[in-house]
């Protein structure tokens, strides 16, 4: 399998690096402080291919904490609020879009 670092990086706007936490698979975002957060607003925003490559490289280096880091698009709304840039990332952040069967509490 091609390493994420060997893949061609294309970004069309503000982007972040996201992955899943190794121990439980929870969605996580790479922060500017070289760590991970489950909160999208904590994510480091990159805007150039070079920045994205560097953020991805440090994310991939943390093989113990995270699985499958990749670059994902985000939108920066008025006031600086960060939103997922596509449906896939929206679902990863907000959860499934469907009505589940009712499960008793």
């Amino acid at each position: 399998m091609t390493s994420p670092l060997e893949q061609k990086i294309r970004i069309a706007g503000p982007s972040i690096v996201t992955a899943n936490r190794t121990s439980d698979g929870v969605v996580i975002y790479r922060t500017a402080a070289n760590g991970w957060s489950t909160s999208l607003p904590d994510a480091a925003i990159v805007r150039t291919v070079e920045e994205a490559r560097a953020l991805l490289a440090e994310s991939v280096a943390d093989d113990v904490g995270a699985v499958g880091p990749y670059i994902a698009p985000v939108e920066i709304k008025d006031g600086g609020k960060v939103k997922p840039g596509n449906l896939r990332e929206h679902i990863r952040l907000k959860g499934v879009t469907i009505d589940l069967l009712p499960v008793p509490a």
Binding site: M1, N20, T22, S23, D24, G25, V26, V27, D63, V64, V67, G68, N86, L87, R88, I91, R92, G95, V96, T97, I98, D99, L100, L101, P102, V103, P104
Partner: protein, 551 residues
Amino acid sequence: MYAYDELDRTLINERVEEFRDQVKRRLSGELTEDEFKMLRLQNGVYLQLHAYMFRVAIPYGTLSSKQLRRLAHVARRYDRGYGHFTTRQNIQFNWIKLAELPDALADLAEVGIHAMQTSGNNTRNVTSDQWAGVAPGEIEDPRIWSELLRQYTTLHPEFSFLPRKFKFAITASAHDRAAIKVHDIGLRLHKNAQGETGFEVLVGGGLGRTPFIGKTIKPFVPGRDLLSYVEAILRVYNQYGRRDNIYKARIKILVHELGIEKFAAEVEDEWLAMRDSALTLDDAVVEEIRSRFSYPAYQKLPHMPEELKQAAHDPLFERWRKNSVFTHKVQGYAIVTLSLKPVGGPPGDATAEQMDAVADLADKYSFGEIRVGHEQNLALPHVAKRDLPALWKALDKVGLATPNVNLVSDIIACPGLDYCSLANARSIPIAQELTRRFANHDTADLIGRLHINISGCINACGHHHVGHIGILGVEKNGEEFYQITIGGRADENAELGVLIGPAVPYGEVADVVEDIVEAYLALRARPDELFVDTVKRLGVEPFRERVYATR
């Protein structure tokens, strides 16, 4: 039910401890993800959008009530209270934590359940007819041969690192409920002119990116030669199958590129060199496996008990009975399908409470046995007809008596983009909307048998190619679009559906399906001409015209 012996139990328990150690080493950093990935896949553990997904095997779709209760326990203890029954007689849990997986596996191992070979490039969970052993007219119980193949292929070193995954399906009935023609190897038990029992062997079927209907490679292989013949096929595949391109690595591509005659000749050469070997099955081996299946002590019961006559006056019961109750090989008994397709529900999902309830009802009414079908429904295979009214009431209380089996809202759907990391588009919300559109039972009954299959990507876990109406999610410029095919079918007359035109956006899919169904109702030759037969008779053009004339 098949009773595992000490060897099986030891194997499963040792596997749990092996995986526990692998998980521990992964979490400590001793194993990298690259090193660990293959190990987790071989234990049914994927990484999906939100979490790890854990796929558990239900070999040939047979479960005991004790096993189903344990699956409910896993759903409740380690997941979010529900599970998803798949199109290959597995169950998936969507929110499992890696750190807790060894405990979940250990809990399952206590009741003889495992996740071996539910993923990875090996021989996968062997599937069969969910009515095996109870279907009228069946040649013999195909689960005996399914179990034989399960034992033979489990952890088989030669088949653990194949070019790609490899799937078997077996049926012993004239009507194919196991979709054998869309499997890598499909096996149909039948009798030859001499009255001997053996297998028609089909090879190279499959869906996904490049769908093919399987072709008969040998019309009759005696039971004693099953393993040697299957091994010959797998050896030819192992030798010539492509490992350089994941999209061309399945056996169907090899069969297509070599041609069925050349492929068959290669297999025959291989087989003749090995057929009279240790792989030849003597009767004692088959009988040993047969003896480990237990069958109910059926009573002599009337064909039409008084309880059933009385209940027939209730139109709601009759509606359910007509669509959910099927003929059993033993007089006085019935096979009951439990729809996991409630209006507005995710197809194939069941809560832990529903699983527990079904286990209780199986104990009470079906000799403690449950079946799982590739259509993502459950079945109780041994219900006395006199118990049908009471069973219906009990099922209705837990939301499992939706009277839509084989009707338009009995939809097959993969998890799609709501869960799956491979998906391009959502499947489940499309299915949910369609079940709402066709919620009126009188309308669904008027339409008759109609299978809608939905996949969220070209990998086709929702079997869209063989849906009477197939829906495939694709992504176009960041938006969800759906290609619609019609005329597919997965039975003994299996065919691939034909694309009717350009993909339509998410918001139009239900309207398009309604248009197709309305066209069918106007075009069918008579009320009992099935949708798929009307398409066969007329082709796709009238449907295409109806859908795209105003779009």
